[in-house]
């Protein structure tokens, strides 16, 4: 009964999403506040029903109701409760429901936090979001009903894919989806602005915090996914340029460009055309990512069971949403021209270069991801595009982005004196190159790649420090405390995020250049050496879990004759699917991780053990944390609340005026 209730609630949600899609837009067109007012309750009701539906599905998993097909294929009575709950989205149907739910959550957030928006504008935003939601809920209902019954029920389920039975997987998909789907808000704002023809700076200011928060979620989601891949897949890699990773990385790149472009549009009224296109682009790439993952046109370790009907449906959705948006853009773009003029050397120019470079980077990732498909479609054979392509394309594109990123904030809006600014940062630049080359030599890895990476990182760090010093020096005579307080949260956000990229680059460079790896055959009592560490194999014991059998190796880690503890990698076989899994064991440190995974047991009783030394890998995650924190600061800036209050007052004033 409960699954049927969930199914029914989802149908009601679809009806409400259609109401939300149609009525407010008609209201905005006819200027009827009664019709426009329907958007908000429709959106909130829709969220209630999707949530209810989602809870029903979760209930089927928790209760091990294996008459529900989805639970039977993705859960098992012995699965730990946590993974029964997360198993709901570890599959195609459930993850679509999660998609729809996060879209609905964002929409409700808009209805709650954007009360100050003019009614007609909010009505259009809700209308656009309603269309997207109707598209996804109907996709779920028509092609991928999560409540499908399996009659007669099976005795026990197939269990959740063991790779997904991991704490990282508990938070990765929700974070990622909140980020993906969050760009729908920026998208809806842009479309609403195009529809209304009101394309001034106000629209940019309204959508800025939304874009930033979505970007924070996406950053966190990607970082968690990467961390999961690092310790769960058992070979210490953290990024694979897998199509599905690319699918999340492309919207991230365009979303980053969008955040910066929005700043220019808000402050200077310029780049409006760019901003609209980037808002459409970031969300389109989110949809495209969904298409790539769900349709199976690209093979990937992430691909769920695929079905051509689903691919067709979602492609139609893609064509309608993106095609309509770009057509609307083409019709209204001439209104987007103009805006504040600026000189060749200015903050605007540096941000324009940033837009261009990030867009090209995103396009090159898209090309690499879809290239096998293009060739196959043209009958030119089957190939796969791997990390060498992406690295070859990415390093030259990102190098100028990073150089500019640290230099741009020094430039003034409108116009600046290039020579004066260059002279100002030249010492930091020269010092960075010296530090980069020097440290590459010091770690005995003087390749151009290591030297370049470390120089860029040093440049970001030094220039950021210099920028901070300059900012603090601006108000001479004031006390240190008041100088610090005079800096806005959004400025701190920018600074932190940029600084985080410096930290991130250090991690990427060091782990890329200096990691060490050794596969050895070990018997009890034997030892191996790697990067100054000694690993002593203390034997393996049985360590069976609730839904798996496992052997656990005990490996003592010794450095300079001192024991650092026992590492306990496991080799598990998940019973329901008979799937072997390695569970790596890590000794995590600020400057290095030591990483051990257990391979096969050989016939003579020895084990294959993989030993890894990963210098500075934590800096990758620290960099991501700083970037995300930067986004949080930027979105929390008091300015938005102050301006929101002003807009609200203006809206009320306007209404009062109209009434009078």
């Amino acid at each position: 009964m409960i699954p049927e209730l969930g199914h029914f609630a989802l149908i009601l949600a679809l009806v409400l999403s259609l109401v939300q899609a149609v009525v407010p837009l008609v209201g905005a067109h006819r200027n009827s506040s009664a019709l426009m007012g329907v958007g908000r309750p429709a959106a909130q009701g829709q969220f209630f029903f999707i949530l209810f539906s989602y809870v029903c599905l979760t209930w089927a998993f928790i209760q091990s109701d294996f008459s529900v097909q989805l639970a039977a294929s993705n859960s098992h009575s012995a699965t730990p409760l946590m993974y029964k709950i997360t198993g709901v989205w570890g599959n195609h149907e459930g993850s679509l429901l999660l998609w729809a739910m996060s879209l609905s959550l964002w929409t409700v957030a808009v209805t709650v936090f954007s009360r100050h928006l003019p009614d007609a504008f909010l009505a259009r935003v809700l209308g656009v979001l309603g269309w997207v939601s109707a598209g996804f809920i109907s996709f779920t209902l028509v092609t991928s009903n999560p409540f499908e019954r399996l009659l007669p029920a099976v005795a026990d389920g197939r269990d959740l894919n063991p790779l997904l039975q991991d704490p990282g997987m508990i938070i990765h998909p929700p974070l990622l989806y909140m980020g993906y789907v969050g760009f729908s808000v920026a998208f809806a704002f842009a479309i609403a602005a195009l529809l209304s023809g009101r394309l001034d700076a106000a629209w940019a200011r309204w959508s800025r915090p939304w874009t930033t928060i979505a970007w924070v979620f996406l950053t966190a989601g990607i970082a968690v996914g990467s961390g999961w891949a690092y310790y769960e897949l058992g070979w210490g890699g953290w990024w694979f340029w897998d199509p599905v990773e690319n699918a999340s990385f492309m919207p991230w790149l365009l979303g980053t460009a969008l955040m910066h472009s929005l700043a220019v549009t808000e402050k200077r009224g310029a780049f409006r055309s760019w901003t609209v296109l980037l808002a459409i682009g970031a969300f389109s790439l989110s949809l495209l990512g969904t298409f790539l993952v769900r349709s199976g046109v690209i093979t990937s370790v992430h691909a769920f069971a695929t079905d051509p009907k689903r691919g067709l449906y979602i492609l139609a959705l893609l064509v309608i949403v993106i095609g309509f948006s770009l057509l609307l853009y083409a019709m209204r773009a001439n209104k987007l021209m103009g805006g504040g003029s600026f000189g060749l050397v200015s903050r605007e120019t540096s941000l324009l270069a940033n837009n261009v470079l990030l867009t090209v980077a995103s396009a090159s990732v898209l090309l690499g991801t879809l290239y096998p498909l293009f060739l196959d479609a043209l009958g030119l054979g089957k190939i796969s595009v791997g990390p060498p392509y992406f690295e070859a394309v990415f390093v030259p594109l990102m190098t100028p982005v990073v150089v500019l990123m640290a230099f741009g904030p020094f430039l003034r809006w409108k116009d600046d004196d290039l020579l004066a600014e260059v002279r100002r940062v030249a010492p930091a630049f020269v010092a960075s190159v010296a530090i980069g080359v020097g440290s590459a030599w010091a770690v005995d890895h003087l390749t151009w790649r290591t030297a370049l990476g470390l120089s860029l990182a040093a440049w970001v760090v030094l220039a950021s420090l210099q920028l901070l010093a300059r900012r603090l020096g601006e108000r001479a005579g004031a006390s240190a405390g008041s100088r610090l307080r005079s800096i806005t949260a959004s400025w701190w956000g920018m600074w932190l995020a940029h600084f985080g990229i410096g930290i991130f680059i250090i991690g990427v460079t060091m782990v890329g250049s200096l990691d060490r790896h050794l596969d050895v055959k070990m018997k009890e009592g034997q030892h191996a050496e790697l990067a100054g560490y000694t690993f002593v194999f203390r034997g393996a014991v049985d360590a069976d879990g609730p839904n798996y059998d496992a052997a656990r190796g005990n490996i003592e880690l010794i450095r300079d004759g001192r024991s650092l503890g026992i590492l306990t990698p496991e080799k598990r076989v998940y019973l329901a699917q008979g799937m072997p899994m390695t569970e790596a064991s890590l000794d995590i440190g600020v400057f290095r991780d030591v990483y051990v995974s257990l391979g096969e047991q050989l016939e003579d009783g020895a084990w294959i053990v993989s030993l890894y030394y990963k210098p500075f890998i934590s800096w990758i995650w620290m960099g991501c944390v700083l970037m995300g924190l930067g986004g949080v600061f930027a979105a929390a800036d008091r300015r938005y609340r102050r301006l929101a209050a002003r807009d609200a007052a203006a809206a009320v004033g306007g209404r009062a005026g109209a009434a009078a």
């Binding site: 064509v319 773009a333 498909l373």
Partner: protein, 197 residues
């Protein structure tokens, strides 16, 4: 409306065209290097009479299908009724290669299991499965350790190989056979090979 503003839309339509075409392709379908090459010969115990063996050569002179299956394979259940119908209509002889019947099944640990015990278990399981679901095979052979599967480049079950009169592999079908793939791919090729011979 200026033409240049339409550029993003046109680019997108071009991309969508490729994606639509991509839906008709199967990226998992890796061309087998064995196509048009002599099929790897094997001699394996028969499922119905384990004391007797069957060799690939025995099918020489016939156009036939080698179907890789196992009782633990879920997708095999999907194609099985079709195989049974094909056998009823005597469309084309099908030999079953029972692939890793016991050790391929994740629910069973073969650690420490003797080969004879594994074989006995495999025979029992496979026979039961065929009596439950119908036996469409002219005969089945037992590839207990999967070595013949490796020779044929099997990486998923089910897979089906079309073999001509001279014992050459002419076509490889990955995944369950569907009525459509039978009609549009497999049977036309079978007819063609029969005519050619």
């Amino acid at each position: 409306m200026k033409a240049k503003f339409l550029v993003p839309l046109l680019l997108f339509f071009g991309l969508a065209g490729f994606l639509a075409f991509g839906l008709t392709l199967n990226p998992r379908e890796v061309p087998s290097p064995l196509i048009d090459k002599p099929a790897p010969n094997f001699r394996l115990a028969r499922l119905d009479q384990p004391e007797q063996t069957f060799a690939l050569d025995e099918m020489r002179g016939q156009v036939w299908l080698l179907n890789v299956w196992a009782s633990w394979c879920v997708a095999c259940r999907q194609e099985h009724p079709l195989l049974v119908r094909m056998a009823e209509q005597k469309l084309v002889p099908v030999v079953g290669l029972n692939y890793k019947e016991v050790r391929g099944d994740g629910a069973i640990s073969t650690r420490g299991m003797a080969l004879e015990a594994e074989t006995t278990m495999a025979i029992e399981r496979a026979r039961r499965w065929l009596s439950d679901h119908g036996n469409p095979y002219q005969l089945s052979v037992l590839d207990i350790d999967g070595r013949v599967g490796i020779d044929f480049g099997v990486y998923g079950v089910p897979e089906t190989f079309l073999i001509d009169r001279e014992g050459r592999i002419r076509y490889k079908h990955i995944g369950p056979i569907t009525p459509e793939s039978l009609k549009t791919q497999i049977m036309p090729k079978v007819e063609e090979l029969r005519r050619a011979g």
